[in-house]
């Protein structure tokens, strides 16, 4: 009997692959053009941040359940502009459309802006963007830094002091690649004091070519500002999607996020809320529908730093077939954040014996006079529920669908635009 010794340690091969892959991604990012002088500094700084880090593995606590190995197999190129058609939301008068990360003026609608609203891309709003772009907390995280390293353009929304914008603004990101590309959308939202705005951010694709979307949204709410933000991810079933939404909230501001993740082969949404002033309110509603072999991961972080903050989070996942959902919900309540009220609920509906969910509420509470609640449930459709509907003449299949849709509806009902809400309800019903 002989013992064979493998000449190459397989772990180090993978590690080498990963570091090569990250520098390849960085090369693709750096290859994008930039003509704005101050932006080059921001980009260069981000390049250094990426170079200091390694490509995440499941040995990193933050990526424990989300294995990015399949992404390594994608031979990516730099994204190029492409033709597309915009899908209009009738309620949204103003729209910014980006195709493969490139601004598409012909598909956008930015005329006749109301007073106090400036929207456009980086070339038209560079001066206004300079003091905010890349400045949000968490910028050093590897994928956020990768996005910044290749920053050439961005969707920019500026809502001036006291401006109340009545019609929603539609931000549309379409991927239409003929070969696998690295696509890096970027959004900057600045809501000045006492302003109010509703945003619809949509990610979708034309065609079935695989691609890697690495998107970053930076959102700033000044004192007493209100932002209602709906983010819909309907990427292609072959795509990889890593998205960051980083929000900072000054005193008395109110931020609502409705995040709907339906697409992509593998998706990860990092949702980070920084309450920087007293008496701020944050409402996070999330819905994930994962089917076939999809993996859909949501990592949220809420940092309450001042007294009287309030957060409400409801995150629901519907998981079918061999799909896998991950939820990690961090809530930080440091000593200074007294009299805060934080509630978190994660509910998961497993529709198949092979479906899987990993859920991890993570509350770090130092303050001693606070109200914090959290809960996580994992369940299946109950025989009794289906029987009740059957006993009213509804067949078993329709009964199951009705119950799944009802589970999703609690979150979808929060989507503030009728046409979009209905299209999402239809989408869930079809799947």
């Amino acid at each position: 009997m002989s013992i064979q010794v493998s000449p190459i340690n397989p772990v180090s091969t993978v590690a080498l692959e990963r570091s090569t892959y990250l520098s390849h991604l960085l090369d693709l990012a750096k290859a994008t053009s930039n003509e704005i002088a101050w932006l080059q500094e921001v980009r260069d700084h981000a390049v250094l941040r990426v170079q200091e880090q390694t490509f995440p593995t499941t040995r990193d606590e933050e990526w424990r359940f989300t294995d990015l190995s399949d992404l390594l197999k994608l031979d990516l190129v730099t994204a190029a502009p492409a033709d597309a058609t915009a899908a209009e939301l009738p309620e949204a008068t103003h729209r910014l459309t980006f195709v493969n990360g490139f601004f598409a003026p012909a598909l956008s609608s930015i005329d006749n802006l109301p007073d106090g609203l400036a929207i456009g891309n980086l070339s038209s709003l560079a001066t206004e963007a300079q003091s905010y772009l890349g400045k949000q907390s968490g910028a050093e995280e590897v994928f956020t830094a990768l996005n910044t390293a290749g920053l050439t353009d961005a969707a920019i929304i500026l809502v001036r002091k006291n401006a109340v914008i009545d019609t929603p603004i539609h931000l549309q990101f379409i991927s239409s690649a003929s070969q696998p590309a690295l696509i890096q959308p970027r959004i900057l939202v600045v809501a000045e004091a006492n302003s109010s705005v509703t945003l619809i951010e949509e990610h979708g694709a034309i065609g079935e070519t695989a691609y890697f979307t690495n998107s970053v949204s930076e959102i700033w709410l000044a004192e007493n500002a209100q932002v209602n933000h709906t983010r819909v991810q309907r990427d292609s079933q072959t795509a990889f999607h890593i998205g960051k939404t980083a929000v900072s909230q000054a005193r008395s501001s109110h931020y609502t996020a409705n995040t709907i993740d339906l697409g992509a082969k593998l998706s990860r949404h990092n949702l980070e809320i920084y309450q920087t002033g007293e008496q701020t309110e944050t409402v996070l509603n999330g819905l994930v529908v994962a089917r076939d072999q999809q993996l859909s991961d949501t990592h949220s972080t809420i940092a309450l730093t001042k007294p009287h903050g309030m957060t409400r989070q409801l995150h629901k996942c519907i998981i079918d077939h061999r799909a896998h959902a991950v939820f990690n919900g961090k809530v930080y309540v440091p000593k200074a954040a007294q009299l805060t009220d934080a509630g978190q609920l994660n509910r998961n509906l497993l529709l198949s014996p092979k479906a899987r969910v990993d859920t991890k509420p993570q509350l770090e509470i130092v303050a001693d006079n606070v109200k914090c609640t959290h809960g996580a449930t994992v369940g299946q459709l109950e025989t009794d529920e289906i029987f009740y509907l059957q006993s009213r003449g509804i067949d078993a299949d329709s009964a199951r669908k009705l119950l799944v849709n009802a589970f999703a509806y609690e979150v979808l009902a929060q989507v503030p635009i009728d046409s979009l809400r209905q299209s999402l309800i239809d989408h869930v019903a079809r799947s």
Binding site: Q390, S391, A396, S398
Partner: protein, 260 residues
């Protein structure tokens, strides 16, 4: 109302059923004709609720013997939804909450699935609204209930009234009320019983399952059956309910023990 020449709606012979291999029904016999109101009474664990669920087709129960004929067809062969569409209605002891589904939509889907089964055209939402408005009267329900999610946040009495509203809309041939009176205050009980009485016709039949005689002050049965240990031990008229109220169930059980 007992009439000699009424059609037989339900005929149960020697029905044996179990759950998780534990036998619950051990030879049920029952015959119900059009126009009749039957009450089944019995102590806890006698199998009353199981009998109602087996008739409605609950998948957790396994029928291992006997037969159930409904309007001449083998009821046990039908899926639960087809039993409902054919006119069997079970008012649940514990109606389920369905958050996210409006009561009105639920009623319309149920109503139209029955119409479709009968080869009729579906009723459009406007005509259906008119129909529901009339039926609300039967259970004295406020129209505001229609826009709420099915049973979500309803009180016990509201849930039971909602069951009777569904019954009013589906117009069953055989209505089975499983402990519809449990947990109701006297006002709600009167409303529910009043609804049931309004819906009772010479063409349909009611099977009222109850633990207490009180309900039978309001819904007057033609037959009262005493059930224990998975079988009907004694059958009588409405006066049997009063006797049970006075004397309890033990004398029936003892008489049965002596007889066997």
């Amino acid at each position: 109302m007992i009439r000699d020449n009424s059609e037989t709606i339900l005929s149960v012979k020697g029905l044996i059923a179990s759950i998780d291999e534990t036998p619950i029904l051990k030879g049920m016999n029952l015959e119900i004709k059009a126009g009749e109101i039957h009450a089944i009474m019995g102590p806890n664990g006698s199998g009353k609720s199981t009998f109602s669920k087996v008739l409605a087709g609950h998948p957790d129960y396994e029928v291992t013997g006997g037969e159930v004929s409904y309007l001449g067809q083998n009821l046990l062969e039908l899926e639960p939804e087809d039993r409902s569409r054919s006119g069997v209605f079970l008012a649940f002891q514990y109606p389920l909450e369905i958050p996210g589904v409006s009561n009105l939509d639920f009623l319309r889907v149920a109503y139209n699935s029955k119409r479709k089964f009968a080869g009729l055209e579906e009723l459009d939402p406007f005509d259906f609204d008119d129909l529901v408005e009339q039926k609300l009267e039967v259970v004295k329900m406020d129209a505001a209930f229609l826009n709420r999610s099915v049973n979500e946040g309803f009180s016990g009495g509201e849930k039971k009234r909602n069951e009777i509203l569904q019954m009013a809309i589906l117009e069953p041939k055989l209505a089975i009320l499983d402990e519809t009176d449990s947990g109701l205050d006297i006002d709600a009980l009167r409303i529910v019983a009043g609804g049931v009485n309004q819906l009772s016709t010479p063409d349909n039949a009611m099977l009222v399952i109850t633990h207490y005689q009180r309900l039978l002050d309001y819904i007057i049965p033609d037959y009262v059956h005493v059930m224990a240990n998975g079988r009907i031990l004694r059958t009588g008229g409405k006066e049997l309910a009063l006797e049970l109220e006075e004397r309890g169930y033990d004398w029936v059980l003892e008489a049965e023990a002596v007889a066997s």
